[in-house]
């Protein structure tokens, strides 16, 4: 099944009944799929008049208690930032899918991973965080779509599923999780349903009060983010036992790196993979533990260096850090990345460079 369709079907099975989005390549197959699929399960699909309208329809469906989702690709995600910031401030759950493409600006429609900063640093205005899940293939797209909805509801917070144009287009076999029973989801005792039999509810993000209302609200949000950072870390390793060098990569880059690592291992080079699955919160502690054994870390990204900053924040001078990044919607081959790894093992900087801290 095609990656974009996988997300659509997984969302329906995870209880999503409301989708709002605006066309943009390379993720159109997802709204197309849901435009036919959601009505089959009594759900709503609306093609909004813009990304801005779509994310605010998500806000409305979410505040009304529905499981809601939107999707887009890089330029469209920039437009959604206002709504994401509001939902973070109002503590509203939602799933936002970004199938990243080359940027900045309109860039191109080829796969890229240059929205890491935007995704992991909040993206919009204000002191907030959104959990970011980075799948590396169709099976994981299905599973992490479920996780995204669960985290969003559990923490009343927007959650981003960060894929790329390649992942949206590629076809792989998938085993889907079972349908969620909507009646057995935890009740949303904060949602707006009309005030029959209870006091009216007001949900808002503006806190003008003179008693530090906004100050305390932000501290409350930070407590929530601290809890997420402590409890929701996800990562995976591959061939990491006894590795002399750990390669850090996520998403499509990790798939390419995995192939390269297998080849190098066959040649006798002890190289392993550390793949962050939650990009925020970044799995700092497990990476640090691995790096404490290998002392050498090579970071490969489909951008000119964004996740590498989290690697630096995680490791500091605990390891030698090498970096190789490919910008602008170009997908390097496992051989290209293998050359970087060999170069990093040798420390000769023929491909990529060692980062001076």
């Amino acid at each position: 099944m095609r990656g974009s369709h996988v997300v659509g079907e997984a969302a329906v099975r995870a209880g999503c009944r409301y989708y709002f989005g605006y066309p943009i390549t390379p993720q159109n197959e997802l709204p197309e799929y849901l435009s036919a699929r959601l009505p089959e399960v009594g759900g709503t699909f609306i093609q909004g008049e813009s990304e801005v309208a779509s994310i605010n329809m998500v806000l409305g469906a979410s505040v009304a208690g529905g499981r809601a989702m939107t999707s887009s690709s890089s330029p469209g995600i920039s437009l959604k930032q206002e709504g994401i910031s509001f939902m973070a401030g109002m503590e509203l759950p939602a799933v936002i899918v970004n199938m990243m493409r080359g940027g900045p600006g309109l860039g191109n429609i080829a796969p890229s991973a240059a929205d890491y900063f935007q995704a992991t640093r909040g993206g919009g205005h204000g002191d907030y965080r959104t959990p970011v899940l980075a799948p590396a293939g169709c099976q994981e797209l299905a599973e992490l779509t479920f996780v995204a909805f669960e985290l969003a509801d559990k923490y009343r917070n927007p959650v981003m599923l960060l894929g790329d144009g390649l992942m949206g287009q590629v076809m792989e076999p998938v085993v889907f999780p079972d349908f969620i029973d909507l009646d057995h989801l935890p009740k949303k005792d904060w949602a707006l349903t009309g005030c029959k039999g209870r006091e009216p509810r007001a949900i808002f993000s503006m806190l003008l009060g003179q008693k530090g209302e906004l100050y305390y609200h932000n501290l409350h949000l930070q407590e929530k983010y601290d809890q997420i950072a402590a409890e929701e870390l996800r990562w995976e390793t591959h061939q990491a036992d006894n590795a002399e060098m750990i390669v850090v990569a996520y998403g499509t880059a990790a798939r390419i790196a995995e192939r390269a690592i297998d080849k190098l291992r066959a040649e006798g080079l002890a190289v392993g993979l550390f793949r962050p699955i939650t990009l925020w919160p970044f799995p700092t502690a497990p990476l640090r533990e691995l790096a404490s054994k290998s002392h050498k870390v090579a970071v490969f990204e489909l951008s000119l260096g964004q996740m590498v900053e989290d690697v630096i924040l995680s490791l500091g001078e605990r390891a030698e850090i090498y970096f190789y990044g490919v910008p602008g919607g170009i997908i390097p081959t496992p051989d290209d990345v293998g050359k970087f790894m060999r170069s990093a093992v040798a420390g000769d900087e023929k491909v990529g460079r060692r980062l001076a801290l």
Binding site: T44, V52, N56, G60, C195, F204
Partner: protein
């Protein structure tokens, strides 16, 4: 004659309105419209099934006054938010309460497309021809010659363009069932406005499509007029740009005389 018959309550505090001191300026039209909307919801027994979306602007704090469920929308996005709510709760009454900057400038696209989709939502549109909360900047609805802090010397069509009559624009859409423009600056007109709001709500209850009531509303503070003069300005000047009356009505309701 028993006392039950001798005393009939003819005036009181609407249940749909909280007993909160107002932050609106003296002479502002918001308080009147809040009251009218609350009375209509009470009379139609809708308070407990209503979900409201206030704008960004002077009415951003409307949830301090209205005694039903409310959610704040980002500036201009009220009708997109309301669309999401209505799709989850088609059996509830969903309304937006928006000013001219919110509805006719930053939210123009959301307004036109929600109306054109025929969303079964009611919009209360406060047109005071100025940006109130930010301190008197030019609005899309500022009339020609009217002073604004960002149109010093008055709105000049060559520099600032002409006032936007968005209700008239919306009326051409087949998704729209009912639009009426009223004022809240004369007792007779206030009664008319209440009737219009009630009709718009009824239109939603009957699932006829999008309904909107535009209310020409005074802003004495930013117009730099006394409340009395501000009322006169609505009645004498503002209605020239925004003529009162029904702009669209496909409801088929027969109005009681």
């Amino acid at each position: 004659m028993s006392t039950e018959v001798a005393f009939k309550k003819v005036f009181g505090w609407p249940e749909s309105l909280k007993d909160t001191p107002t932050h609106y300026c003296p002479g502002c039209g918001h308080s009147i419209v809040h009251r009218l909307l609350a009375e209509c919801l009470d009379e139609l027994n809708l308070r407990e099934k209503t979900i409201g979306v206030p704008p960004v602007g002077c009415a951003v704090l409307a949830y301090n006054y209205f005694n039903f469920d409310m959610v704040e929308a980002p500036h201009g996005r009220a009708l997109a938010v309301a669309t999401g709510i209505k799709r989850v709760h088609p059996d509830k009454v969903v309304l937006t309460y928006q000013g001219d900057g919110d509805l006719a400038a930053i939210g123009t696209a959301e307004t036109i497309h929600a109306a054109n989709r025929g969303e079964n939502i009611t919009t209360i549109f406060i047109n005071n021809a100025i940006y109130g909360m930010t301190g008197g900047q030019m609005a899309p609805t500022t009339v020609l010659g009217q002073d604004a802090t960002t149109a010093p010397g008055g709105r000049d069509p060559k520099l600032h363009g002409r006032p936007l009559d968005i209700s008239r624009m919306l009326a051409v859409s087949d998704g729209v069932a009912y639009i009426e423009r009223c004022t809240v600056t004369a007792v007779k007109e206030i009664r008319k406005a209440k009737k219009a709001i009630k009709k718009a709500l009824r239109c939603q209850l009957d699932g006829l499509g999008f309904s909107l009531v535009e209310l020409l509303s005074p802003c004495p503070t930013n117009w730099k007029l006394t409340p009395g003069r501000a009322w006169e300005w609505v009645n004498d000047e503002m209605v020239k740009t925004y003529p009162l009356g029904v702009l669209k009505d496909t409801t088929g309701y027969e109005d009681k005389k």
